[in-house]
Amino acid sequence: MTTIAAWRRLDHLQLLLIGMLAALGLMTVYSAQADWGRQLLWLLLGVCAYIAAAAFDYRRLRALAPGLYAGMILILLAVHLVGHSALGARRWLSVAGFPLEPSELSKLLLVVILAAYLSRSESVSWRSFGLTLLLVAPGAGLILTQPDLGTTIVFLAVLFGMLFLARARAWQLFSLVFAAGVALPLLPYLLHGYQRRRLEIFLDPNQDPLGAGYNLLQARIAVGAGGLFGQGWLHGLQGQLGFVPERATDFVFAIFAEEFGLLGSLVLLAVFGLLLIRLLRAAAVAPDRFGELLAGGVFVMILVQVVENVGMNIGLLPIAGIPLPLISYGGSATITTLAALGLVQSVVLRRREVVLGDGALGTITRRAQA
């Protein structure tokens, strides 16, 4: 396959959407007075990872899956043993002087591992269902005890979503929902004090406006202050004057919404929505079940992060430390997200398609039967 032929087969719309998100993200990080130069560096590194992942034949990952699994458990263990703490949680590894957040990387690793495991058969038996849960449990446990509630939620969402896409039986999915329903009342006992507090504050944000409720309240004020058209780039009062906490990472959406208003926010959501549809399309055209599940897993991973991050910024969901993909400041998350999208591009590149016809809506393709 020549480079030109490969370029033609690429999902160009995905490229465009990624470019838009990266540009908006960089502008917002700049406005949030974070180190935008560094974020640019992360983006460039991420683009390298993206190209490498797209060029790499994703099918070879299947064989590597057991090794990746061992690696994931190892780096998560390493965090517990030699990691650095910030804000009361041990999440960071120092790699060649750069801080690395293994839980970000582990999201992608989980997608690859689950895709590899679930693609061994066309359906999900009760046996492989149980084994899948056993497979996910150690990683999820290690992340939950960092503690990192946000990534744990992403883990569980990816697990559920990929089982769904792998055509797990309705009863299997229902049993997961049931388990979650049983676990929910136990949640207060499992959570750390500050996490429990966040949950209470979510239920009543006005009970402690300067303490635990501060983040939620100030983020909501910032979003609301944006109004229809926004206050203009670099002109958000709440954001520029530092009232929004964690304004380059967890609450970057509040900064964006304050400066670009409802119109800007809808554009951003639309871009995310289109990107997500493109990921599902990649799953649809994947040449094999592994590729389908891989693209589907990346879809779930990005969807859940967008929903939780935007949701907590607008007071719809409780606060959990989850970045907004490609917008939030942060090296590990940015590079991981771009690598994941690169893998999806790799799936798209290697599609086998039967042209059914050129219609007004474009070329309709269908995955060839293996």
Binding site: F164, A222, L241, G273, L276, I277, L280, V300
Partner: protein, 607 residues
């Protein structure tokens, strides 16, 4: 199938987010934008300088001196709980307050506004804290103006002091747009002339960041300083009066007294002294509990301004009223001779003169000069209580003067109707309710139930001096706004005229002249002080605390001068004074000596 379901789910969920966003940014947008503005834009008060108070010659009696206060913006303190606790402990240590108190103060108000923790820092404290400020995020040292009074023991009772607005003040001044915590005059001229002195505060709208630091100023309204007030007081005379009174009290082993000097032509108060005084600066700089309770518990009651609020029987100084009433009502003439026996028997009750022997036949002038009690018992009996009370009121007795200070007391003029009203039981025949002849004749010598104040006494003697005009006493000479423009000057006000002919008043004044020219007695003090006894005066030793013999007394002296064209009238009061000629009169003579030298120097242009 599942991919389509996933796509639908994604679209639905993102659509849900969009709906919530629209609600937040459009429906609630205005409210939340207002909250964002409230977060970031704060109105800071720019305090107006309070007007300065001067004496009539432009001598400043109070200054707005700088003082430093430690203030903390709670939002500027570290968010981290441990760092916050460390800073809290440090602030508590610096201000020597319990940590809980500091924490409560900081939690009480708007987290983005300054909370004053220590309102008055000494110079050393200010320097010490300034050095440590970088380690105390959110804390700052703010300079404010504080009232510092000149010679508070001399001027304190006139000037009063200021303090932070309390609930009672708010009720009194609320309509004038006062804000909680604003400084207002509490007593004295500071309170009486509050509206002139206050000025108008300005404001600045500033944009602050999440740490409470000011980013920029959006708009300002400059404050307008209060007006400069020139009192009618003469600072030198006030000082001399206070010194004379203090020296006189010490000489006679007394602790409290008062004196008022005014110009009988205009009603201008030239000096107004009440002793003991107190340090009004204690109040403006934040008085300690110990200092305050020692002022409150002092048996000499230094916080009481006796000159305007001390009510005492006038004793013999009242006899000019009785004389005026007798003459004007035609009961006696200037030439009528009455006896002056050692006592009078009224219905079996014995009423004594101060002398245990008869002083012989005398006219009204001599009766005043010798202060014959039995003469005035007879006159009072002839005039009757109701008419006597009418004349007393005409001279301004029983009237709270409207001077530029709060807390002026009226004194009391009794008569038979008043006494009946005092009775709980309407039993007109009981002794407690029924006015009797004894009440009338003791009324005639300034006893009975009669009460007056040193200020009322000065106004009364001024009216005798100026031919019967009761002047409104005033402390205000001139008011100028911040640019020096004259906005209000003195207009003498006559509040009443004594219904007596010029000739009758002259006969009374003649008695007052004879009184101070009596050999071996009053005249001695004038000669000793080197002051010509050119004027009219009257002493009074008033009994108080019940009826009978050997009661405690207060000493009075009232005086006007010069005799022909009076330009000064004064009253001197010595609490628990035993002999007015010896204790009160020399103080008045001393004040007059200073007055003569001082006015002489002013007229000669050497002051």
């Amino acid at each position: 199938m599942r991919l389509v379901a996933a796509a639908l789910l994604a679209v639905l969920v993102i659509g849900g987010l969009a709906v919530k966003l629209a609600q937040l940014q459009v429906t609630d947008g205005a409210i939340l934008a207002g909250m964002a503005r409230a977060n970031t834009v704060h109105r800071v008060t720019l305090e107006a300088d309070r007007g300065i108070i001067y004496d009539r010659h432009g001598v400043p009696l109070v200054a707005n001196s700088p003082i430093w206060s430690l203030e903390v913006v709670p939002a500027g303190m570290p968010l981290d709980a441990r760092a916050r606790a460390i800073e809290l402990a440090e602030l508590a240590r610096i201000t020597a307050q319990p940590e809980l108190q500091v924490a409560a103060d900081l939690a009480a108000g708007d987290p983005y506004s300054s909370v004053p923790l220590e309102p008055s820092l000494s110079q050393e404290q200010e320097l010490a804290i300034n050095e440590r400020l970088p380690q105390l995020p959110g804390a700052s040292i703010v300079q404010r103006a504080v009232r510092t009074y000149v010679d508070p023991l001399v001027f304190g009772h006139v000037l009063g002091y200021v303090g932070p607005l309390n609930d009672a003040d708010l009720k009194r001044l609320g309509k004038l747009g006062y804000q909680p915590g604003e400084v207002v005059g509490k007593v004295g001229v500071e309170a009486g002339l509050e509206t002139l002195l206050r000025g108008r505060n300005g404001w600045a709208d500033v944009e602050v960041d999440a740490r409470g630091a000011i980013v920029r100023t959006i708009a300002t309204q400059q404050p307008v300083p209060g007006d400069s007030v020139y009192l009618s007081l003469d600072a030198s005379l006030q000082r001399a009066t206070a010194q004379s009174l203090a020296a006189g009290l010490v000489r006679d082993g007394k602790t409290a007294g008062a004196s008022v000097v005014l110009d009988p032509r205009t009603g201008e108060v030239l000096a107004l002294v009440s002793l003991p005084g107190y340090d009004t600066n204690l109040f403006t700089h934040g008085i300690s509990q110990a200092d305050y309770s020692s002022l409150i518990n002092n048996p000499d009651r230094p916080l009481l301004n006796r000159a305007i609020a001390g009510q005492y029987a006038p004793g013999s100084t009242f006899k000019m009223v009785t004389a005026t009433a007798g003459l004007q009502e035609g009961k006696i003439t200037a030439a009528t001779l009455l006896s002056c026996p050692p006592y009078l028997n009224v219905n079996g009750w014995i009423y004594h003169n101060w002398a245990s022997y008869s002083l012989g036949q005398m006219n009204v002038a001599k009766a005043l000069a010798t202060s014959c009690d039995t003469f005035f018992y007879q006159v009072a009996a002839m005039v009757g209580d109701v008419t006597l009370a009418k004349y007393a009121r005409a001279f301004g007795f029983g009237q709270a003067k409207s001077i530029e200070m709060p807390g002026v007391m009226p004194g009391l003029v009794p008569d038979r109707f008043w006494k009946q009203l005092q009775c709980g039981v309407p039993d007109l025949n009981s002794d407690a309710c029924r006015w009797n002849t004894g009440d009338t004749i003791t009324f005639g010598i300034g006893q009975s139930y009669l009460l007056t104040t040193p200020l009322n006494q000065a106004v009364y003697v001024a009216a005798l001096a100026n031919g019967g005009q009761v002047m409104r006493p005033t402390l205000l000479d001139d008011v100028r706004d911040a640019s020096g423009r004259d906005i209000q000057s003195l207009h003498p006000q006559v509040t009443g005229t004594v219904p007596a002919s010029a000739a009758n008043l002259m006969a009374v004044r003649e008695g007052m002249r004879e009184e101070i020219n009596r050999p071996y007695n009053m005249n001695y003090w004038f000669r000793a002080a080197g002051v010509p006894a050119d004027g009219g005066g009257k002493t009074g030793t008033a009994q108080w605390g019940g009826s009978g013999l050997d009661l405690p007394t207060h000493a009075w002296f009232v005086f006007f001068a010069p005799y022909a064209q009076p330009e000064v009238a004064l009253s001197v009061f010595v609490e628990r004074g035993e002999l007015s000629e010896v204790e009160a009169a020399p103080i008045g003579v001393d004040v007059m000596r200073f007055y003569r030298d001082h006015v002489g120097a002013i007229r000669a242009g050497t002051v």
